[in-house]
Symmetry: C2
Subunit: 215 residues, 2 copies
């Protein structure tokens, strides 16, 4: 019979929804306790109790984070912090956003630009010593085109760029975009063309790496 009194210790704004507040507190909790990827977070019931909120509200917050790919939940075990790469988010946004042909073309175009950007960064950031190791590494493996670019994106050493590229690549595959030439050769020619126009340095290193990977 106790009065509803105050829920969610020190709620800041009056019109903040509970689940949003939970997301916030969750973030604080993760930061404060120094939780890292793979760590387990408290159970839904415990969170519900600790945060003075209903379990359904806690679930709304968790489900939102899950859809964003920030956490992972395993029935019977618990909820864990995830090594998020944005995949989930992509899959969702893709179906909502990509509706017209123009948008699809944008994906391909953007993806290409980023590929070349990564190439540029990779070339710029890789100094000689590492370059040798890279050469060996690439020689040992026999990359498909996709894998090649993936490696390049990694080498660019810009995690954000890599993530964006991944997202776009997922689009590309999942939606079977065929806006640009499907034939590999023509595709390569197109990338070459892009690279060419954007500076000799890029092109040079690009061809060098490309050759190494196909020999």
């Amino acid at each position: 019979m106790e009065k509803v009194s105050e829920r969610l210790v020190s709620k800041p704004e009056k019109n903040t929804k509970v689940y949003v507040e939970i997301v916030r507190q969750l973030r604080e909790m993760i930061e404060k306790d120094g939780l890292k990827t793979g760590d387990k977070i408290p159970s839904e019931r415990e969170l519900s109790e600790r945060l003075n909120a209903g379990r359904s509200s806690v679930r709304e917050a968790l489900r939102a984070l899950e859809l964003l790919g920030l956490i992972e939940t395993r029935r019977g075990e618990g909820t864990f912090i995830r090594d998020f790469r944005g995949n989930q988010l992509v899959q969702l946004l893709s179906t909502f956003i990509l509706q017209d042909e123009k948008a699809k073309f944008d994906v391909v175009e953007t993806r290409n630009m980023i590929e070349v950007d990564c190439l540029y960064l990779a070339a710029e950031k890789f100094h000689n010593e590492e370059f040798e190791r890279l050469k060996v590494w690439i020689d040992e493996h026999n990359f498909k085109d996709e894998e090649f670019f993936k490696k390049i994106a990694e080498l660019a050493d810009n995690h954000l760029f890599y993530r964006i590229w991944n997202i776009l690549n997922d689009y590309y595959n999942a939606l079977q975009l065929k806006v640009l030439p499907a034939e590999k050769e023509e595709y390569h020619r197109l990338v070459d063309s892009l690279a060419t126009r954007r500076g000799e340095l890029i092109l040079e290193r690009y061809r060098m790496l490309r050759k190494m990977s196909t020999d």
Copy 2:
């Protein structure tokens, strides 16, 4: 006493969570009925009934979409499709993802690359007739640096690129990233330098536009 039988008409995979399935069906519904920004979607209770799922599951799906900024809910009125620009998403991800200095640097770097990319696209896609109108347009307004790049991004006519740039710019502002030179002049020099290395065409048009906007 009826057997649980089948929920969610024709559930595809056995281990698909209900709320994810609801998100999917919601998308189908939106597409099928041709719903646009601002339109109202069915109430939670009606969705619950139509999709053969509990209201709590429907809410989990809706809350996730809300956190993503794809829908907007107004108590007492209903749930509406939103003019999403990724803001929500940004705000959330930023607090989760941007933890170390490297990530911050990546933001700045990626943003710069995209700026130059847009510059390239804008220059390439703008033919003469429109170019004149652009000139007038830019002359009429007195852009700040940020606005200048924003306009460029628009002119690149790649909506996806524009959106990504927007996100990165939000990061940049919201978190007061100071990784790169804070002084404008130095910043400009850096962008110039980037542009330079990436081809004369870009640089040329870039300076031209830039001059037009600062006269």
